[in-house]
């Protein structure tokens, strides 16, 4: 088999990967709403630990610390709030970025503080689905390419 066959195959596969990674997907159509959450923070956990909203929602999180001073930082949005026990603090932002974002404690609260984590899900997690499809595609593409090359030799 010719060398050009290998190159052609590689290009087609790369194109396929590009489509999986970047093809526009239909967006969610839910109307933006005001979403209010009460999140309790205690030794190394948030309750609830997972928050789900739709893209575009106006999100307000009331942070209630139940043992020591805790904070809440939202990955990807770069906003944070700090709450003392007995002093509920509030954080508002517009969830205009879709995907999964970790909530992290922003105030040192003990040994496991760096691992005090919650999750915010905004809309559909396109990254995850694209990644899973891309994984399958890339694996098969890799094998195919290896075989094409083998045949060439």
């Amino acid at each position: 088999m010719k060398r050009s066959r290998v190159i052609t195959t590689a290009l087609v596969l790369a194109l396929g990967a590009g489509v999986i990674a970047f093809a526009p997907l239909p967006g969610a159509s839910a109307k933006p709403a005001n979403r209010h959450f009460r999140v309790e923070a205690s030794a190394f956990k948030y309750t609830p630990a997972t928050i789900r909203v739709n893209a575009g929602d106006h999100v307000t999180i009331d942070l209630v610390s139940t043992d020591v001073v805790h904070g809440l930082y939202v990955d990807g949005y770069d906003v944070s709030v700090t709450a003392d026990p007995g002093r509920t603090a509030s954080l508002s932002f517009v969830a205009n970025r879709t995907g999964m974002f970790r909530l992290r404690c922003s105030v040192t609260c003990g040994a496991m503080h760096p691992f005090m984590i919650g999750k915010l899900h905004v809309g559909r997690n396109d990254l995850l689905w694209r990644a899973l499809v891309l994984t399958l595609f890339a694996g098969l593409a890799g094998i195919l390419l290896a075989r094409v090359r083998e045949v060439r030799q």
């Binding site: 309790e40 205690s42 030794a43 209630v64 610390s65 139940t66 043992d67 020591v68 001073v69 003392d84 026990p85 007995g86 002093r87 509920t88 105030v107 040192t108 609260c109 003990g110 040994a111």
Partner: protein, 357 residues
């Protein structure tokens, strides 16, 4: 061989120099007292007692070994210093009176936060601090453990703005409003012939107006701040006794929410504690006098889990705090500035401390 010696010198000298440097560096700089804050269950302040002399600067190098704590000296106007974990703060204090001062943690760090206290024994000449006044509740010989429930209850929240100005002169027993419970004042008003036309609820509104006249916006603001910083964690942000620490206080040590078994003082957490007082309870609050409430604050709950604030708050702070407690019973604000008779609904957003029943 020269190279080998050089290599050895480099390693040995480097290691020794580094070790010496580290050890020297972490030694406390001279002339400062090192004060470490830890969770009360892990030992609290270390050291727990400090001595100083009148007029001589006391330099404190402070840090927290676990979570956010704060440092303040009771009965003092010095602002609190936040102690962030792993960070060092230095502050210098000069005492002008001898006596026993209390330093305490100002940021909530669990159900036993208030036990995080230490003492500074200041020696020298001069009048001792904290020696001048006998609290009102002692002068009145009030029995703080005796409840005085009110059998008279308003149908709705007494609202100062609904009262038509200050009421008909009230004859106060003893003349000091702080020694009277709202129920007592209501009774006095009821007895007064000038109030015969008023309904019971209107009289309660009058009582609210009397209470409002006895305080000021500034004092209420100060009291609210003190309440938020020191009381709300147990008594709740809305005063209902449902603060975030309340569960631990009722359930005792088994329910330590941190889940960590502390070795420091086993069983200390919540031993013999009771549920925090509900300040929205009409029966208890309307039957209590300001002097009684202040007494509770000063003396604490004697084993119930309620801290004693006597060494912490000044007289003026205590009264401001008591003034704030009445706002859980009386509406001082709604309708203010507009027509006095309007029965406005409460705006819970702007006045979170007030909730109608």
């Amino acid at each position: 061989m020269r190279a080998e010696s050089g290599a050895r010198l480099l390693v040995v000298f480097g290691a020794v120099a580094l070790a010496v440097l580290t050890v020297v560096a972490v030694r406390v700089p001279a002339r400062a007292v090192e004060l470490r804050g830890r969770l009360p269950d892990d030992g609290g302040w270390s050291p727990g007692a400090i001595s100083a002399r009148v007029g001589e600067p006391l330099t404190l190098r402070m840090t927290s070994d676990d979570v956010v704590h704060g440092f303040a000296i009771g009965q003092s106007a010095r602002p609190a210093v936040d102690l962030l974990p792993g960070k060092w703060m230095t502050t210098t204090v000069v005492f002008d009176k001898p006596g026993k001062y209390t330093y305490y943690c100002t940021r909530w760090c669990g159900p036993n936060h208030w036990r995080m206290r230490g003492t500074i024994e200041v020696t020298g000449s001069g009048a001792r601090v904290l020696a001048d006044s006998v609290p009102l509740f002692l002068r009145l010989k009030l029995d703080l453990d005796q409840a005085h429930p009110s059998d008279l209850l308003p149908a709705e929240t007494p609202t100062a703005a609904r009262a038509g100005g200050l009421p008909t002169p009230v004859a106060l027993d003893g003349g000091d409003l702080r020694t009277q419970s709202p129920a007592q004042v209501w009774r006095a008003l009821r007895k007064h012939p000038g109030n015969a036309r008023l309904t019971d609820q209107q009289l309660w509104d009058e009582v609210a107006a009397v209470w409002r006249a006895a305080t000021s916006r500034e004092r209420l603001a100060e009291g609210r701040q003190l309440y938020r910083d020191n009381c709300a964690a147990c008594h709740g942000e809305t005063g209902r006794g449902d603060g975030v620490m309340a569960k631990a206080l009722v359930a005792g040590p088994a329910a330590d929410p941190s889940g960590i078994e502390h070795s420091g003082m086993p069983g200390m957490s919540g031993h013999g504690t009771v549920a925090p007082t509900d300040f929205t309870n009409k029966r208890n609050m309307l039957g209590a006098s300001a002097a009684f409430l202040q007494g509770k604050l000063i003396r604490g709950g004697m084993g119930t889990g309620m801290p004693y604030w006597g060494p912490i708050f000044t007289e003026s702070q205590l009264w401001a705090l008591v003034d704030h407690l009445w706002t859980f019973q009386f509406d001082y604000e709604s309708g203010a500035g507009s027509s006095g008779a309007s029965r406005t609904t409460h705006d819970s957003a702007s006045k979170p401390a007030m909730r109608p029943h």
